[in-house]
Amino acid sequence: MRYLPLNTNDRQAMLATIGAATIDELFVDIPEAARLTGPIHDLPMHAPEMMVERHLKALASQNLVAGEVPFFMGAGAYRHHVPASVDHLIQRGEFLTAYTPYQPEIAQGTLQMLFEFQTQVARLLGCDVANASMYDGSTACWEAITMARRITKRATALLSSGLHPHYVSVAKTMARFTGDVLEHAAPGLDAATDIADLIGRIDKDTSCVVVQYPDILGRIDDLSALAKAAQAAGALLIAVVTEPVALGAIRSPGEMGADIVVGEGQSLGVGLQFGGPYVGLFACKQKYVRQMPGRLCGETVDAEGKRGFVLTLSTREQHIRREKATSNICTNSGLCALAFSVHMTLLGEQGLRQLATLNHAMAVLAADRLEQVPGVTLINESFFNEFTLVLPKDARSVTRALADRRILGGVSLGRLYPEEPDLGHGLVVAVTETATQQDIEEFATALQEVLA
């Protein structure tokens, strides 16, 4: 078999060296009763590369590819053009097939990349420091809440109604077991966010306020007052960014005073991937660095005084601190962090701002056009590349009808908030640089047909 270099002669020779007559002698510790002799039943036998490729291509061909149709979906996962060089570079064997850089002398490539990634993320989110990545935005969000609990020694978190409902679910799932108290309500279909309301609810038990920016409905609101209010009450402001490209156009949460900023980095370098692997961004103020979860890469020097990089502050981590660790995370999203970093390096400040400007412009064009569809109203006053429409019909059926017309026209709030009938007519529409004016036109026309 092509991946197994040993042939029968090799195996015989090696068994002889070991002093075993048969391979099964090496498996004696497995109780006879449970030990399998032949291959497990009703599973196929090994297959040539060509056959495996045919089988997976057949599966792939059953999916409607985003790039082949007018595409307007977001709600936490955005489709951006990723330069070809990104995918080439992350496939270099020295990156792809390396392990966590525990041997820094022969892992400077990964380590320097992580140091650069941490700096890019910290600057983009407006924070002092960032870590070497988390699984995704939703788990990063929960980790931030637990971090706030450790820092404030308080257990009540106020979750903004604009926070991605899946992020809320993840947090609620965990809180059930950890005893954290989470306060949260579903959003209303109007232009105003719940920031004012949140400010009013902060009290001495509040560990943190968690707000998404731009929020699940695409709304953008100034976080400065919220940050001040939280900090005044000894609580932390946690900002969640699911579309980092937005920060090429609007002020960063850190700038507005957020203590911890977490995010989903998938927009840069990673692609849609049906939801994973993605890359969780995690940044905060310098003073909280020792409470951060996950790996951190730091600068140092080698025995000759040359600058080099190592994983550091590991006393926060599970492999050193075990049950006292700040988190149980070990494997993170290293290669996605590389993709994010390469894409960000290609863009640079100039490119990121151009990209953001282009996204916003296309979104404005789309919003204006879609508002003209009879019965459709736009709730947003402010937005970046995503906004929410209210339809005269249940949006779930509309998205399915659009899909039948080979148009992927947004994410229905009905799917995101099944338990909230009032939101059923809401449709979240994202528009990036990959959408053309013709795509917008086709979408608008099809929407009109479907609603007619």
């Binding site: 291509k57 995918d87 097939t97 392990y99 002398e105 022969i106 490539g109 692997p277 149980n328």
Partner: protein
Amino acid sequence: MSMNNQGRPTRQDNGSDAGGAPATSTGNRALLLEEALIFEIGDAAHTGVDFAPAPKVNSRLGGLDRRSAIGLPGLSEQETVRHYTRLSRQNYGIDLGLFPLGSCTMKHNPRLNEKLARLPGFADIHPMQPVQTVQGALGLIDELADWLIKLTGMTAVAMSPKAGAHGELCGILAIRSALEARGDMRSVILVPESAHGTNPATAAFAGYQVEDIPADSHGRVDLEALKARLGPDVAGVMITNPNTCGLFERDLKAISDAVHDAGGFVYCDGANFNAIVGKVRPGDLGVDAMHINLHKTFSTPHGGGGPGSGPVVLSAALAPYAPLPIVERQDDGTLVLIEEETAEDHHKSSFGRMVAFHGQMGMFTRALSYILSHGADGLQQVAEDAVLNANYVLRALEDVLDAPFAESGPCMHEALFSDAGFAEGFSTIDVAKGLIDEGFHPMTMYFPLVVHGAMLVEPTETESKAALDQFIGALRSVAQRARDGDASLHSAPHFAPRRRLDETLAARKPVLVWTEPDAVIAEAAE
């Protein structure tokens, strides 16, 4: 030695190993190229991308337009390609040579898997697309799930956990949900000392107290001691099998029975499943939950630290509590995705959601490609060759390296050695760094904690006999030098891009992000 801010010597110097060779003005050594940080070579006025001009529109950014600079340097495409290509060349990877990192299963990563994961039909679909448009993707998840269930002899599998530790969390939460469902509030999870750090960390993260399970002198769980500790406060045990000493827990079935009798559940850390896949089904040993690191046993690449994927197989007792989303096949053959929207009717008792979407699709694709390539016969061969290779290494080196449990019979997929027998002042790290000069990645050092100066060697099944023989020869020569007290080992590695790095300095005054040199000076001046 004085340095400029790009890690280049300001005095011409190529390090003590340059010997007679003259210094270079660049700090490069032919193909060993130094590379500055992007912040040192790029700036905000350069970029490696082009965009069509944006249509003119009135901003709707709610007055929050960014005014200040972000500080993100840009590079032209060629500079970018060069930067990361040069960095990559300072890394070691499986593609370069044997990577015997115990407990990490660094096996070959077939490029077929990379190619198939990039099919637009898998890579370019949105997680929230209407299910009728992603039947192939759901079909792939369903097919992989079926394999994992059959290979482990379990009832169900939760696909969404993003890595091993996340899978552990999933399993522990399922256990806790099952206990709560019967109104049984237990507070303790038992974990062996030899366990990986994620085990206790996970139990604590899920709100449990962690207590040690004692080990016997042969490196396995002490069954009697364990039984003695079981009781109404014990929610469950976390056992790694094969364990981190590379040994199979012979008594696992007995342990499971005891734990079950005491009303608890058995979590098995399946990180080492590679040693037994196709040889035994954990379900047959009474396991209730086990995560499978697709990035180990099923060869999805480690990528310098991730991403991974940690599906969790579940027993009948825990299956009802599996997290959302869940892929289910209808009678008409179509696949549905059970999320909050439909959970009420189908999955009432699910303990909730662990991630925003459906887990690591990109890893599922690679893992299924790997699994189908091997088939049921090939996967069994994988376990046999992995174990054969490990025992070959163990027996070939036990004369120069102390092998604490060699007497306990054959090892499984990894050979465990200790630093006993090294000259005064020589330890595992010296051997590890010596191996770097020899062109190999070191083994896992100082883990498991139960063995002094542990060296955990996991060759995996994808190494040829020739590669093993070369590795054995190199390790033998380095081990001999450690026994003989060869001082040059203390300064190893000598040929790597960097000499030993000062980790204490890094931790004492952490520099985690780059700052303009003058800023640094200013700071220093304070």
